[in-house]
């Protein structure tokens, strides 16, 4: 055995552990949430309330696209929180988790699933999409998208909004999630990435694709209206 090989064998056993790359990174917000979740899991009611407060905007922004009324949205949000938090407790009891519970990730998944099931069960989806009280102001008079490019001007604002609502719901799942977390929940890309378990770069590229698809959907609708 040459000295060089001997050293290699020693290095083999003393190799430093490789860094585990966590998609999305851990933001300060995430660290605070981990602490709150830990407190909730040992029965801290205040921590539970705080977790709901911190995430209700995000959860509501997801479910509102599928809800037909204010009460619908609230009920979906409430069920989302309960299901996600009760799942956290189960995971804790089973001792399955070595790392903190990714609460936001679970909230997003549960919210989307519950909201979609709800919309499907209502069996009035097409009608709901265009007549929903939570839909954007098709009534007009709102300062939305002022200074829009010429391409938008020939369709009425209400028609555009309706067409876009449909287009958003028809986006591929990941694109829809990224897009709505940005434009509805207004999360920064770092938090979007964390909430979906993807890299920040992936979130940005996905957002770009979603935007293009929406632009294309609107352009298609515009073309269909031409004589």
């Amino acid at each position: 055995m040459t000295p060089a090989r001997h050293m290699d064998e020693r290095d083999e056993t003393r190799r430093t552990p490789s860094l585990r790359v966590v998609a999305g990174g851990v933001t300060p917000a995430r660290r605070e949430e981990d602490a709150l979740v830990a407190a909730f899991l040992v029965g801290d009611d205040d921590a539970f309330g705080e977790l709901v407060r911190r995430n209700e905007r995000m959860v509501l922004s997801i479910v509102r696209r599928y809800a037909r009324s204010a009460d619908d949205a609230r009920d979906l949000a409430q069920r989302t929180f309960l299901r996600a938090f009760e799942a956290s407790r189960r995971a804790l009891r089973r001792g399955l988790r070595r790392e903190p519970v990714p609460v936001r990730r679970w909230l997003v998944r549960v919210a989307v699933n519950l909201a979609k099931n709800h919309a499907r069960d209502e069996a009035r989806r097409a009608h709901a999409l265009t007549a929903s009280p939570v839909a954007p102001a098709a009534q007009g008079g709102e300062a939305r998208g002022e200074g829009a490019a010429d391409a938008l001007e020939s369709m009425s604002r209400a028609e555009e909004a309706a067409r876009l609502r449909v287009a958003v719901l028809e986006l591929p799942r990941r694109q829809r999630e990224v897009l709505t977390l940005r434009i509805d929940a207004e999360l920064p890309f770092a938090e979007i990435a964390d909430a979906l378990g993807i890299t920040e770069n992936a979130a940005k590229v996905t957002f770009h694709h979603a935007t293009r698809r929406l632009r294309a959907a609107l352009a298609d609708a515009e073309r269909e209206r031409l004589p």
Binding site: L60, S61, E86, R93, R144, L152, L164, F189, K204
Partner: protein, 173 residues
């Protein structure tokens, strides 16, 4: 004009309005290009407009009212569910463990349960007894929230509680 393809992604990110959409270098690069390229400026404006129109409006007064006490409501329901769960567990303990598992539709009973059969209670009798004393729980709650005990550890004990826990565990698949 082909160079504009290099900026498509940056334009979308700028249109997103996110605080962390672009780093300083990317922002500078984009601004320099936009200063010189009317087509990309138009793209930016169009994308921003579409995103603005696609976004949900802020919650209405009715919506805000509906969720005003969401944290308290949710906490209250959590407590209700917890109370109901412990009621269900007590009902399960009162009845024969196997009959409970059989009484709930469609459950495949784990082989371990048969080893733990309480002595002397025929399955049919136990089933009737538990049906009489047991109100059907909210299936949504029960199926999603049954407490799980590691089935491996159940073989270490021999009291009735274990068969109950295993029966409950069998529901959670």
């Amino acid at each position: 004009m082909n160079a504009c393809q290099d900026y498509e992604l940056l334009v979308s990110l700028r249109a997103s309005g996110a605080p962390d959409a672009l780093d300083a270098a990317e922002a500078a690069r984009l601004d320099a290009h936009l200063a010189a390229c009317a087509a990309c400026r138009a793209e930016l404006e169009a994308s921003a407009a579409v995103l603005s129109l696609a976004a949900l409006p802020p919650p209405s007064e009715a919506e805000r009212r509906a969720v005003r006490d969401l944290p308290a409501r949710t906490l209250a329901e959590l407590h209700r569910n917890d109370r109901r769960r412990s009621t269900v567990r007590r009902a399960l303990v009162a009845a024969a463990g196997i009959a409970v598992a059989a009484g709930l539709a469609g459950v495949i009973v784990a082989p371990a349960l048969f080893k733990k059969a309480p002595q002397g209670i025929p399955v049919q009798f136990a089933e009737t007894a538990q049906q009489a004393s047991w109100e059907v729980p909210d299936m949504d709650t029960l199926w999603s929230d049954a407490q799980v005990v590691d089935l491996d550890s159940s073989s270490a004990q021999s009291d009735g509680d274990t068969s109950t826990d295993a029966a409950v565990a069998a529901l959670d698949y």
